[in-house]
């Protein structure tokens, strides 16, 4: 009898995380999602069945499989199953509209698209204007597909097949595993190409510094198609931990309650996640019930001092806070700040994770002295191979020193790194170069706003003028009061000339603030 693919050795390919945990902890709960509880062996068996089906459907090494699903058990089976088959998995944002999806499908030329009934409307609206060879594998389809010219298969049928399949011999750690589109604030989204080695090395480094074990239970509110969500999945599958999926972050009380009920040990978010939790959930009231919460981690952009301090106060003393820094181009992570240095290095992104080196370079590629600003450049086994079918963009960021992050920063004399702002986001206002992040931080420090964004908009006299878009903590606060408090903290030329108040800043599907949507919201 042929059993599922399991292994006891250390992982060299991403799906080995699942296989080794299915070997070491077969009956352990790997995934909790609403009423669903799935063990490692169940997930591994389904992933084997899917891999077998994909290979029979003609998937060969390097073929693209597109995954469009929200966080659910099938996503995980789809992800590991497609990797087992030797395919390159491109998980696309479940938030895409047809206009965004079509160009991605055109350049990916996927052989199979795996999705579910939730996205049937989206898929039908695109008319799947892609190559004729593309087939669709759908979980529980509800719409009629008979008018469409491509093959459609049912997920349920695909998972009835045998578990046996042969992993391609040529599949090794240098093989391309994943294409992840960056949520880049400007220009068209770029597909970051990551190999098995990129992701496996980064996963192990993260497990090491977070000291993850099979006892860890991670609450995931970030989407798996986002590099950080994917990293939460892989790290916990690498150690045989448990992942709790909660897709109801819009109702934050339900998230905090589930953290308590499931004895969650780790929670992760982007800055907006924590701003929302602090100001729209009963987190503080639940402090005494969070006895098992070992740590919270934050990545995905700069989080203000104000939020860090409020979070430190709201969480129990034993819950450590990890501030982390990375990029999709780095498989997720580049640096982290040790929790015991949070208060004395509060603005720092910490030091490089194991296996990674970071340098601060000037425009000539020369390392600058501590305290001097330059571009942050990362080097290590986690750095991507390039952008999918975009050599020009690749050559701009991948150079002999490593990956040029586009972030300006510096290092202090203790070797701690700081991000000052994005290289391309400095705004020229009447002869001054202004860093919007600095003003946003000053605004947060007033304690009057829960989140805010400062943007430059074109101005005839000044070249640009600064506009503040803010969410008030108390709705009875006046605009003039905000400006008065700002004036105490900032020189005159850094003061916004226009204030727009909104109820919430629009976010993209990764939970990050969407700058373009913010400006649209206030009619700019």
């Amino acid at each position: 009898m042929v059993g599922p693919n399991m292994r006891s050795k250390k992982a060299t390919l991403i799906h080995h995380f699942l296989e080794t945990s299915a070997h070491s902890y077969p009956d352990k709960t790997a995934i909790i999602y609403d009423q669903v509880r799935a063990s490692y062996s169940e997930i591994n068996k389904s992933a084997d069945q899917l891999a077998g089906w994909l290979i029979r459907a003609g998937i060969e090494l390097g073929d693209r499989v597109v995954l469009i699903m929200d966080n659910c058990l099938e996503y995980i089976v789809g992800y590991y199953g497609a990797l087992k088959s030797g395919a390159v998995v491109a998980s696309l944002s479940s938030d895409l509209k047809p206009d965004g999806l079509v160009p991605m499908l055109r350049e990916l030329e996927p052989k199979i698209i795996i999705s579910s009934w939730k996205f049937e409307r989206l898929l039908q609206a695109t008319h799947l204007e892609v190559s004729e060879e593309t087939a669709l594998l759908l979980k529980s389809p509800k719409l009629d597909w008979s008018d469409f010219h491509f093959d459609t298969y049912s997920w349920e049928d695909a998972l009835k097949g045998e578990e046996e399949f042969h992993e391609a011999e040529a599949l090794d750690e240098s093989a391309l595993a994943s294409i992840i589109y960056t949520s880049g604030s400007t220009g068209k989204p770029k597909g970051v190409m990551l190999t098995h080695k990129n992701i496996v090395s980064n996963t192990y480094a993260i497990c090491e510094y977070l000291k993850l074990t099979d006892k860890d239970i991670q609450m995931v509110v970030l989407p798996f198609f986002y590099v950080m969500g994917k990293s939460l999945l892989n790290t916990h599958f690498a150690v045989g931990g448990t992942v709790v999926i909660n897709n109801k972050f819009a109702f934050p009380t339900s998230v905090v309650k589930q953290i308590v009920e499931e004895g969650v040990t780790g929670f992760s978010g982007v800055p907006a996640t924590y701003a929302y939790l602090l100001h729209r959930s009963p987190l503080k009231k639940y402090q005494e019930k969070l006895g098992r919460l070992r740590y919270c981690s934050q990545a995905g952009g700069h989080m203000s001092r104000q939020i860090k301090r409020e979070l430190r106060e709201a969480l129990p003393a034993h819950t450590e806070i990890y501030i982390m820094y990375g990029a999709t181009e780095a498989s997720a992570r580049l640096t982290y700040l040790q929790p015991d240095r949070l208060m004395d290095k509060i603005d720092s992104i910490g030091k490089p994770i194991p296996g990674v080196t970071m340098k601060v370079l000037d425009n000539n590629g020369v390392e600058v002295a501590p305290g001097r600003k330059g571009e942050l450049v990362g080097y290590g086994p986690n750095i991507m191979q390039g952008y999918w079918r975009d050599e020009e963009a690749t050559s701009r960021v991948l150079r002999k020193n490593g990956y040029y992050t586009g972030d300006l920063g510096y290092q202090d004399t203790d070797g701690y790194l700081y991000v000052y702002g994005r290289k391309d986001s400095l705004v020229k206002v009447g002869g001054h170069r202004i860093n919007p992040q600095e003003i946003e931080d000053a605004l947060m420090a007033t304690g009057l706003v829960t989140e805010n964004l400062v943007a430059g908009v074109p101005d005839e006299l000044l070249e640009n003028r600064l506009v503040l878009i803010a969410v008030l903590k108390n709705s009875d606060c006046q605009e003039v009061e905000i400006l008065r408090e700002c004036a105490k903290r900032l020189p005159k030329y850094k003061l916004p000339t226009q204030v727009k108040l909104v109820r919430a800043l629009p976010k993209n599907s990764n939970g990050k603030v969407d700058r373009a949507a913010c400006l649209r919201l206030v009619g700019l």
Binding site: A125, N247, K248, A250, T253, A504, K507, S509
Partner: protein
């Protein structure tokens, strides 16, 4: 269908369903049925606040108030009458 229900329905269909209202019932759960995701709920809240001139309090951000067209209408009527 009253005017309030129609307005909410139109907003949801236009913004989240690409104009294809196939199968959207008034009691369809937005989150469970994948009509709106977490980010979308906030867009819906913004829409309700502007369109109906109400303020949605933090404690009111619960599925019982916001997770279907019916729930939203019941909640709105309570807010508008208050």
């Amino acid at each position: 269908m009253n005017e309030m229900t129609q307005k909410i329905r139109d907003f949801v269909v236009e913004n989240f369903l690409f104009g294809n209202n196939n199968g959207l019932k008034n009691d369809t759960s937005f989150l469970d049925e994948g009509v709106i995701d977490s980010t979308g709920i906030l867009e819906l809240v913004n829409f309700l606040e502007e369109e109906f001139e109400i303020t949605v309090d933090d404690e009111e951000l619960i599925p019982e108030n916001l997770d279907s067209i019916d729930n939203v209408v019941t909640y709105l009527q309570r807010k508008v009458d208050a």
